[in-house]
Amino acid sequence: MSGERHHHPAPVSPVEQRVAALEALLTERGLVPEGFIEEITRRYESEIGPMNGAKVVARAWTDPGYKERLLADGTAAIAELGFGGAEGEHMVVVENTPAVHNVIVCTLCSCYPWPTLGLPPAWYKDPPYRARMVREPRVLLAEMGCPLPGDAEIRVWDSSAEVRYLVLPQRPPGTEGMAEADLAGLVTRDSMIGVARL
């Protein structure tokens, strides 16, 4: 059976060898608690992600009082829904309107609101996005599938200090009768970064 071959593990890449080396040395020094790596993996794979931000957005779309609180004090309003913690301690929510489009970036590293959006996607952390979004956002947004009307104002937010940003996208037309939970299902990660409109 030729299928047997597929059970051989893939060759280990140099970076995997380096990770394994550091892991082994730290483990020998008693610095890696049992289950720590599995816990990190579980938390970011199942608890923390853009589904949290989507709930915040859907609540803001359906509850004007909540939206007002969210725009006035993002951290406190997001905490009302149970989200907070590392990289979400100082949240500012910026609202898209027909005339104004907001988009977030971190030119110096990879700052991103973990509690509401999860870990940043690879492209957000890679050089082209970080270099270009502050210089030619209209061109880059169009290239990423988010063309804007020529007269729309673009506000770019570079997360260079302690604040982390979340974009409040516009509620799509034709969703007037939808329940909050169904609305949350329409909200994408990209719309909360500001590289897509709904």
């Binding site: 892991e23 890696v32 500012v92 690879a122 270009r132 956002p137 200090a161």
Partner: protein, 210 residues
């Protein structure tokens, strides 16, 4: 000896298209989760501040920085801090890895032993015009190069936070207000696009009156 690092990417040209994907897993492979966990463990063990951690990434050899992924940055920074703080040796790492284990370059700035007095009250308010200092510090800073020397308008006054330029280089700390400053694209770039503004969050000491 000024250091304007490769990580300070805002405005650089020639880097090509964004490899956009609409969704991706939290970790593409198990080693990424391990690298993330090890960085957290090392930072905790050596009591590295956020500034020291970021600076350890920024000191990577530029070619390596540009051609390696985010979690390889974290791995390199974790290993560098572990070596610099005496937790492991570079020789141990290379022996275990069975090959080269590139680390970040040395810190070029002198250690900061006195962070100076905290700044409690914001010097600027919403609507004030400010200018970013035109300077090139030899160590870590969170002042992007593309706004240095540029004038903008304060749009938000945030809380008081530890200054990264100080905390990255020793145990000393200084706290200052931070501000969100709006720059018109036309004031940042010769080819600045109409109707575009860029907002950058800056510590008090990065700013001066225009």
């Amino acid at each position: 000896m000024p250091v304007d690092g490769i990580h300070d990417l805002g405005g650089l040209q020639g880097l090509g298209r964004v490899a956009h994907s609409p969704a991706e897993p939290a970790f593409h492979d198990r080693w990424e989760a391990v690298a993330r966990a090890l960085m957290e463990l090392v930072a905790g063990a050596v009591e590295a501040s956020g500034g020291e951690f970021r600076h350890a990434i920024e000191r990577m050899e530029p070619g390596h920085y540009l051609t390696s992924s985010y979690y390889e940055h974290w791995l390199t920074a974790a290993a560098t801090l572990a070596v610099e703080h005496g937790v492991v040796t570079h020789a141990d790492l290379e022996a275990r890895a069975g090959g080269r284990f590139p680390l970040s370059g040395p810190v070029l700035a002198p250690p900061v032993t006195d962070g100076g007095p905290d700044v409690g009250e914001p010097r600027f308010g919403t609507g004030d015009r400010v200018r970013v200092r035109e300077w090139h510090p030899p160590g870590h800073t969170r002042c992007p190069r593309y706004v240095r020397g540029k004038a903008g308008t304060v749009v938000r006054v945030d809380g008081t936070h530890s200054v990264p330029d100080v905390e990255a280089h020793g145990a000393a700390r200084r706290h200052e207000p931070t501000y969100s400053v709006r720059f018109d694209a036309a004031d940042l770039w010769q080819d600045g696009q109409r109707g575009v503004s860029v907002h950058v969050d800056l510590w008090d000491s990065y700013l001066e009156r225009p």
